[in-house]
């Protein structure tokens, strides 16, 4: 295969992987946007995000922190906010903060480095969105704000002749049908298109950055680390959990904390789609100012906090694999073939992503069909769902015990329910210690057996699973006992440090079985102590 074709294939693989990783949070974003549209309406949405008051910025930030979406999942919500004429500052506050944290990723983040660091990062993000939002609100001309119509605004209630009052007439099953048909249509609408622009950023990066070129780019002693990361982060699309795991690797490798902060705020909060959408909505001049303020604030904070953050016992490795995911996935040593491309493309995609991607694909196809039918019926592709739903409403016969609950109350309950659901999901994602230890037992057996037999690929795959479960074990313990003993934390640190050593041995070319076995011997004993630390009740702690 030609060299350039090979590089291009790497870019396409990254785009495909981006779509798969975005699909779960994109579906959640569609659901939240549908709630805003059908239950809150324009007025309710504006009130939810703080209206014109000063608290709109921190309120949007706080809402963004609670809702489980990524920077692609925010698109449908942004369209609804824009349609409701929410302040541009609040819009940017929500767009930047919603993808940064959610209950799942925040808990995961607390297991990395010192919990205070992650809390400080969260506080730093609040500062950024407040400063940037304030500057934008200050400079954004009110006229533009009043006139400009979002792409989502083509679906404005007023635009298709359906008023807020008509929306309120949609209740019960009709509204539910409206919600689902809108979600299906929107999945093949502007949200998906902008999402595609976002994941194209990953493709561009993979084409520009050769395989492994980011491995030594953000070392703690490199004064250019935050600036380099700022340049890379602009086209990056990353899910909150991916960023958290990258932050973990950065802390583990003692990389630049400033670069980690830039990756969190710009890499996770912003993508190419967000940037271009803002540009098309508000004009390039104000958006350039907004973007410049954002970059300057983030990079300034990054340099201010860029003190070495090296945990006890960690000696900087000199490189990290945390950012390999942004470089071309095709290494020079690979033999070009379609099978290799396929294997590389699906590597690391977990079953929840497959399920949500399949569901999104079904939605997308159904959405295309519905939009085609709408066009045949003479409705505008974007507004017809609402209009057709409203037109089909017939007077509902009043039943004696029927009470019409205000839509905002139902919508509020749904949003609160979603937040509660995501907290409950934390307990499912981070199971009880005994369950986590059972998963670890399987991962450990696979890793050690494969490593001893020299099956490096298999061992590397399961090693990541083991590492991931080690963190989930800590979070699972903490959220149930509200405590993680220093000894448990240290044993967790030790097992991950040794797993990292094993990873380096497995990746070494040529593979050296004797060196690998030495590391395995260390892991056996450390693993025993680590598992004991989580299994033993307090009364037995003094028994070795």
């Amino acid at each position: 295969m030609e060299g350039w074709l090979w590089i291009l294939s790497g870019g396409l693989i990254r785009i495909f992987q981006g779509i798969c990783s975005a699909s779960p949070t994109f579906l959640v974003g569609l659901f939240i946007a549908a709630i805003l549209r059908f239950y809150f309406g324009s007025q309710g949405t504006r009130t939810l995000f703080g209206g014109d008051s000063l608290r709109s910025l921190p309120q949007s930030w706080a809402l963004g922190m609670l809702l489980p979406v990524c920077s692609i999942g925010v698109f449908p919500i942004l369209f609804e906010m824009r349609r409701a004429k929410v302040n541009p500052g609040a819009l940017s506050a929500f767009a930047l903060s919603a993808p940064l944290f959610n209950p799942l990723s925040l808990l995961y983040g607390l297991t990395l480095s010192r919990p205070l660091v992650i809390l400080m990062f969260a506080f730093g993000s609040l500062m950024v969105v407040t400063i940037v939002g304030f500057v934008w609100d200050l400079f954004q001309s009110r006229k533009e704000s009043g006139d400009g119509q979002a792409e989502g605004a083509t679906v404005a209630i007023g635009a298709d002749g359906a008023t807020a009052a008509q929306h309120d007439r949609l209740i019960g099953m009709q509204r539910l049908r409206g919600v689902s048909s809108w979600m299906v249509r929107e999945s093949a609408g502007p949200s998906s298109r902008w999402g595609l622009v976002a994941v194209c950023g990953l493709g561009i990066l993979a084409i520009i950055l050769p395989w492994g070129s980011m491995q030594g780019a953000v070392e703690h002693n490199d004064p250019w680390a935050p600036a380099t990361m700022a340049a890379v982060s602009i086209p990056v699309y990353a899910t909150p959990m991916l960023t958290m795991s990258q932050l973990g690797m950065m802390f583990q490798h003692a990389n630049s904390p400033g670069a980690a902060f830039v990756l969190l705020v710009i890499g996770t909060g912003l993508n190419l789609g967000t940037l271009f959408w803002f540009g098309f909505q508000f004009g390039w001049r104000p958006v350039s100012l907004w973007f410049l303020t954002l970059m300057m604030t983030v990079v300034a904070i990054a340099y201010a906090i860029n003190q070495p953050l090296i945990p006890a016992g960690v000696e900087p490795a000199g490189h990290t694999h945390a950012f390999d995911i942004y470089t071309n996935p095709i290494s020079p040593s690979m033999q070009p073939s379609a099978t290799v491309l396929m294997e590389t493309a699906v590597k690391g995609i977990e079953w929840p992503s497959w399920i949500s991607t399949s569901l999104l694909a079904v939605f997308f196809v159904a959405g295309l069909v519905l939009r085609w039918i709408d066009r045949r019926r003479g409705f505008h592709a974007d507004d017809s769902p609402t209009r057709s739903e409203i037109q089909s409403v017939e007077p509902t016969p009043a039943l004696r015990y029927d009470r019409v609950v205000p839509p905002s109350l139902v919508g509020g309950t749904l949003i609160v329910g979603l937040i509660i659901f995501s907290i409950v999901m934390c307990y499912a994602y981070y199971p009880a210690p005994n369950e986590a230890l059972e998963e670890i037992r399987v991962a450990r057996a696979e890793t050690l057996t494969a490593a001893s037999a020299g099956q490096t690929e298999h061992a590397l795959q399961w090693l990541q699973v083991w590492d991931d479960w080690s963190r989930r074990l800590e979070v699972g313990t903490y959220i149930r006992h509200f405590e993680l003993r220093p000894y448990q934390r240290m044993q967790g640190f030790l097992i991950r440090k040794k797993l990292e050593l094993l990873e380096h041995e497995l990746e070494h070319d040529p593979f050296e079985i004797d060196e690998t076995k030495k590391v395995l011997q260390q892991i056996y004993r450390t693993n025993e102590r680590w598992v004991d630390a989580f299994r033993r009740p307090d009364a037995e702690r003094s028994r070795p």
Partner: protein, 164 residues
């Protein structure tokens, strides 16, 4: 719908990225191959004064503490290395057969000593030296305890082999 982005802007972004990132090295192997010897060293620069285990930590710490206390060394590097040993104690002790309660005692002492050293900007004052002495004693006890465990384990193994 308007096109999602103008091609000029996209090209501008790409040019910017190429300018910023073009100088990045390709891959890690060439970057790290030159000066290292073993596989472990190749990936992690381990400091020369990193102790092999708890025994060596206790020994090194006692020796270096005495040197600093008796002003046998004015070398700031030696003082820094002593502080490093304090920082590494938690990890090295956790990587031994020391049980959790005994580890917690060591941990508490190292925490106090590290805070004291941070307050003094890494200098070893009288207070730090006193805490250092406490840590040295605890490390000696920890070593005795781990050795005792090892002896008991060896004895058990011998008896087991004898029974067979």
């Amino acid at each position: 719908m308007r096109p999602p982005f103008s091609s000029k802007l996209l090209i501008a972004v790409q040019v910017l990225l190429v300018c910023c990132l073009g100088g990045l090295p390709q891959g890690c192997s060439s970057h790290f191959e030159s000066e290292q010897k073993t596989l472990f060293d190749e990936e992690h620069q381990v400091p020369e004064h990193w102790p092999e285990g708890l025994d060596q930590l206790a020994e090194d710490f006692r020796r270096r503490l005495d040197e600093v206390r008796m002003n046998l060394t004015q070398d700031p590097e030696a003082r820094k290395e002593l502080s490093d040993l304090v920082t590494w104690t938690d990890e090295i002790a956790a990587d031994s057969d020391l049980d959790e309660n005994r580890w917690n005692q060591l941990h508490a002492t190292t925490q106090r000593l590290r805070q004291q050293l941070a307050r003094e900007g890494g200098e070893w004052s009288e207070t730090s030296l006193r805490l250092g002495e406490k840590l040295a004693t605890e490390l000696d006890r920890a070593v005795d305890y781990v050795r005792g465990l090892q002896l008991a384990r060896d004895q058990e193994n011998h008896e087991g082999e004898g029974a067979h």
